[in-house]
């Protein structure tokens, strides 16, 4: 990917939830956001500032009412839903706060799952199982856990497995939604460092959402979403 093209570029974004959902109407406005390849952005804001909405917009499961989202130089939000789903499979890795893994699949099967959805990521990973094993080793998951069902792991282990899954097949964009909030403080910084190192090694742009400002120092840029 050409380094001069931002991995994520958002301009004049506006999205409104209708007021019929039992609560007040809510709107997200974001005049500008850009993350270059291999760069990382720390995104924070109070509850209700629209972080989840923004992630759903960048993931392509929501579309903005106005403005545009460009991913890897493509007018992403203008694509039809099926193309956005395919784009997400090919180019974006997600890590959520918790419950990232399919509980009945083994650790290894969870990690290779993106390669099942995306031929592109399968091709980039070459041998999906070998790539998964390597990533799990980097993320400090012992080999004897690989065949275990995902639900047998501790929360910290599950988050690292989720990181391996987001990284497999080298997607250009990584989105982490409060991935450390279920971890205790000493492990949080370690996890962030590990994630940043792997993202850099992958050449991926990273958006890291958190309300814990202590972590902000690890990132290239910081952006606050206001309520």
């Amino acid at each position: 990917m050409n380094a001069s093209v931002p991995a994520i570029a958002i301009r004049d974004l506006e999205f409104r939830w209708p007021a019929t959902r039992g609560c007040d109407g809510f709107s997200l406005k974001l005049p500008s956001l850009a993350v270059n390849p291999e760069n990382s952005l720390f995104l924070h804001g109070p509850s209700g500032s629209g972080k989840s909405t923004l992630l759903n917009l960048v993931g392509g499961v929501l579309t903005p009412h106005s403005g545009c989202i460009e991913l890897l130089g493509q007018a992403f939000s203008a694509l039809p839903a099926a193309r956005r789903d395919a784009f997400r499979a090919d180019h974006i890795g997600f890590i959520f706060q918790q419950f990232n893994l399919i509980p009945y699949l083994s650790v290894l099967d969870n990690v290779v799952l993106p390669c099942r959805f995306s031929a592109r990521r399968a091709a980039q990973a070459a041998d999906a199982r070998a790539a998964a094993t390597t990533l799990l080793a980097h993320l400090d998951i012992a080999p004897d856990l690989h065949a275990r069902p995902a639900h047998a792991l501790s929360v910290g282990q599950q988050q690292r497995v989720a990181a391996a899954r987001a990284l497999i097949g080298k997607p250009e964009i990584l989105i982490a939604d409060e991935p450390t909030s279920a971890l205790d403080a000493p492990r949080q910084a370690a996890f962030v460092d590990l994630l940043l190192a792997e993202a850099r090694a992958n050449g991926s742009a990273l958006i890291f959402v958190s309300h814990d400002l202590r972590l902000a120092a690890h990132f290239d840029a910081v952006l606050e979403l206001s309520a």
Partner: protein, 427 residues
């Protein structure tokens, strides 16, 4: 490029994870499928085994009563005995030049629960079953026509196999159904001279003797009881005139089938006693028609039971969606579109449909194997094959298709949920 093939193992793994609840639903579907298949198989095989039991005869002639009673009793040994017809009447009709052959049938006695049929050697020459197949001997020969054959018997395949009889063995016939003790024709034992090959028809469960034999064992009987003080020994019996006085019915084969209605009319107008001649195929058709409503009812009920099973499946799948929202959101984040989510749900119901239908087939096979001999013994219904016929494959496909269709609702609901939830389920 999108990939779809991995969805099947994923659906299977997910279903396996919920095997406790889905398993109960699967059992309901299996039982309903078994019932549906069993109704169909019984219907088909009943018809086939009845139709195959008299494939050569153009007419069955007997005393005037219900045509169905005549056919059921004379060919299938089912239902109540019809009245006898006089031997003289039989001879008169049999001499009609349009008639190629006749087989006289005389029923009433039994051997250890198996019916004894008095007939002539023409039985082995002219009787046809299945697709016009003649009878064949697996061992031995027909009973002899003259006096030397009076105490000879030919066994159907099942009789010999079940009772463990070999050629040359001595057997004793009982009067009537053999239900009463002391009603044996113990003074006149028969020797087995031949055993027929299996036919899959009532022939297999019949003991065949000559008409003269029936006459001989009843020489010293009257009105269903042995005459006191009048015992006729076997070697004396053959000295008597053993021409039968009457028979139960007879089968008629014509030179030309086109004459069948003419002959039928002639027999119906027979002066000496009231007789009827029936076309076995027509009578059986009437039987099936009269049973059609019951069959439809049974089939309708079976479908109703299947739909109950499917309602259970729907309930389980819809209730399960609540717990699966996280799972579906994870798949969405990994790039699954709504079509993927819907496919995953439909695959689950398809999987249960296939397992249910095949499980039903398996259970039916087990049940058929166990119940087959009983059905043949008591109802003359021979299950034709343990493998499904083309109708049953269609039925299996229909069951699977119905399950697939039932999955559409949870699939639609799941994609609605997935659309509303996006990547982060609101739980």
């Amino acid at each position: 490029m999108r990939r779809w093939r991995f969805l099947l193992p994923l659906a299977a793994a997910s279903a396996w994870n919920r095997r406790a609840t889905l398993g109960l639903t699967l059992i309901a579907i299996i039982l309903a499928s078994t019932l549906l298949l069993a109704v169909e198989r019984l219907r088909h095989d009943t018809r086939a085994s009845f139709a195959q039991s008299v494939s050569g005869a153009d007419l069955i002639v007997g005393a005037r009563s219900s045509p169905l009673q005549l056919v059921l009793y004379s060919v299938f040994r089912l239902g109540e005995a019809s009245n006898n017809i006089r031997w003289a009447s039989y001879r008169k009709i049999a001499d009609n030049p349009a008639i190629a052959w006749t087989i006289p049938l005389s029923l009433g006695d039994s051997h250890r629960g198996y019916p004894v049929l008095g007939t002539s050697a023409d039985y082995f020459r002219h009787f046809r079953y299945g697709f016009k197949t003649p009878l064949a001997f697996s061992v031995g020969r027909p009973f002899a026509d003259g006096r030397e054959g009076v105490f000879e018997a030919v066994l159907g395949a099942d009789v010999a196999r079940k009772l463990g009889y070999r050629n040359g063995e001595q057997i004793i016939l009982s009067h009537g159904s053999g239900a009463l003790t002391g009603q044996d024709h113990a003074d006149k034992p028969f020797s087995v001279v031949g055993i027929l090959s299996p036919t899959g028809t009532p022939v297999d469960r019949t003991v065949h003797v000559s008409l003269a034999a029936i006459e001989a064992i009843h020489l010293d009987w009257q009105g269903g009881l042995p005459l006191p003080g009048l015992a006729v020994a076997a070697d004396q019996a053959i000295e008597y005139d053993l021409t039968p006085r009457d028979i139960t019915a007879f089968l008629v084969g014509l030179h030309q089938r086109t004459t069948v209605f003419g002959i039928q009319r002639q027999i119906a107008g027979f002066k000496d006693e009231p007789l009827q001649a029936v076309l076995p195929g027509v009578v059986l058709d009437q039987l099936w028609q009269s049973l059609a409503f019951g069959e439809k009812l049974l089939r309708g009920l079976s479908w109703l039971i299947l739909s109950l099973g499917l309602a259970g499946l729907l309930a389980v799948m819809l209730a399960g969606l609540g717990e699966r929202r996280r799972e579906l959101a994870i798949l969405r984040a990994l790039g699954a579109g709504l079509p993927h989510i819907a496919t995953l749900l439909v695959l689950e119901s398809l999987l249960l449909g296939v397992l249910g239908a095949l499980g039903g087939l398996l259970l039916l096979t087990v049940v058929s194997t166990l119940a087959g001999p009983w059905l043949a013994e008591n109802w003359g219904i021979v299950l034709q094959s343990l493998l499904p016929g083309s109708d049953e494959w269609l039925l299996l496909a229909a069951i699977i298709a119905t399950c697939l269709l039932a999955g559409v609702l949870p699939a639609w609901r799941a994609s609605r949920l997935a659309l509303a939830d996006g990547l982060t389920p609101r739980l």
